[in-house]
Symmetry: C2
Subunit: 171 residues, 2 copies
C-alpha cells in the first residue's frame, strides 16, 4: 500500500451559482489557521505552488484593509490584489483580482471550523460574477497550487512554526 | 398626458446568476457621477430614500480603502459597511454589507457609460452568493430607495452642485 503525507483539498464547482468551494482539514487550531492567513511573514511561506516566491506589496489584514502581492514562478511574475471586507478569528472575507485579468474580481470567504482535538476544517468559497469566469479558474490548474500551498502549510504546522494562540487572534 | 420629472431605474434580476442589475441615465458626465459616488459631502446628500439622514463613519474612496455609514430613517438606524476593491474614473468595485445581516456580503460594480451630449448611463451590479440572498434584497423594497436617491442626485445635478471635472477624477 502506498501512503502519502499530502492530502488533496476537495475542490467543488457549485451547480447553481458561480462559486468554487474548497474544503481542507488541517492539524491545527482555528487560531493557527487564522494566523497562517493573516500574518504576512507566515503567509508568504506557504501560499502558491512549489517554487513560488511571494513578495508582499501591501498587507493590512484587518477589516477595511487591503493587500497586494507578486508571485514569481519560473521567472514569470503574477500580481494579485484585493481588499479585506472582514477579518475576524473565525472568518475572513476579501476581494481577489489576478492582475492578468484586471477587471475580474472574486469575493472570497474563508471560515475555520473547529473539529476538536486540534484539527480544523478550512472552508474557502470563491464567488465569481459569471460561470465563464468561474470555470476559467477551474480550468487554470488552480488545484495544483492549492494542494502544493496547503502541503507547505502542513509542513509549517508540523515544524511548530505557527504558534497556537496569539493576542488579537482570539474571539 | 402626465409627465413627471422622475425616471424609474431599471432593476433587473439576472436569470442565471444571483445578480441584481440597475441601469439609470443621468444628465451628467461620467466625471460628475464619479464625484457623486466618491465625494463624501455629495454622497450623503443623495443616497437612500427620502427622509434619510446619512452619517459617514469611515469614508476612504480609493482603491484599497473602506467605508461605513449609518442611515437614519424615521428614528431607525441602519448601518452599512464595506471596502473599496477598485476606484477609478469609469468603474468602482466595492463590497457591501447591511449590518442587520452581518455575514451577508455583496460585491458591487458601478460603471459610468458616457452617452455623449452630457448624458451618462450608470450600470450598478450587485453580486450575492445565493439566489435566496439576492431575492431577499429584491423583496425588501429596495427600488423605492434607489429611485428616491437617484431623484435627489438628479436635483443636485440640476442645481449645479456637482462640478463637471475635478482633479484626480479624470482618466
Amino acid at each position: 500500500m502506498n501512503t502519502t503525507m499530502s492530502i488533496a483539498a476537495a475542490v467543488e464547482a457549485d451547480p447553481t451559482v458561480p462559486i468554487i468551494r474548497i474544503t481542507r482539514d488541517f492539524a491545527a487550531t482555528p487560531a493557527q489557521l487564522f494566523r497562517a492567513h493573516t500574518d504576512p511573514e507566515l503567509f508568504v511561506r506557504w501560499v502558491g505552488p512549489d517554487g513560488t516566491t511571494t513578495t508582499l506589496d501591501r498587507w493590512d489584514a484587518r477589516t477595511g484593509g487591503s493587500w497586494r502581492y507578486v508571485a514569481a514562478l519560473n521567472g514569470v511574475e503574477f500580481g494579485f490584489h484585493g481588499c479585506f471586507h472582514e477579518v475576524r478569528p473565525d472568518r475572513i472575507v476579501q476581494t481577489f483580482t489576478w492582475e492578468g485579468d484586471p477587471d475580474g474580481v472574486a469575493l472570497e470567504t474563508l471560515t475555520f471550523e473547529d473539529l476538536g482535538d486540534g484539527r480544523t476544517r478550512l472552508h474557502a468559497q470563491s464567488l465569481c460574477d459569471s460561470f465563464e469566469a468561474r470555470d476559467a479558474w477551474l480550468r487554470s490548474g488552480m488545484e495544483v497550487g492549492v494542494d502544493q500551498g496547503y502541503a507547505k502549510l502542513d509542513a509549517l504546522l508540523a515544524a511548530g512554526d505557527i504558534a497556537g494562540t496569539s493576542a488579537g487572534a482570539e474571539t
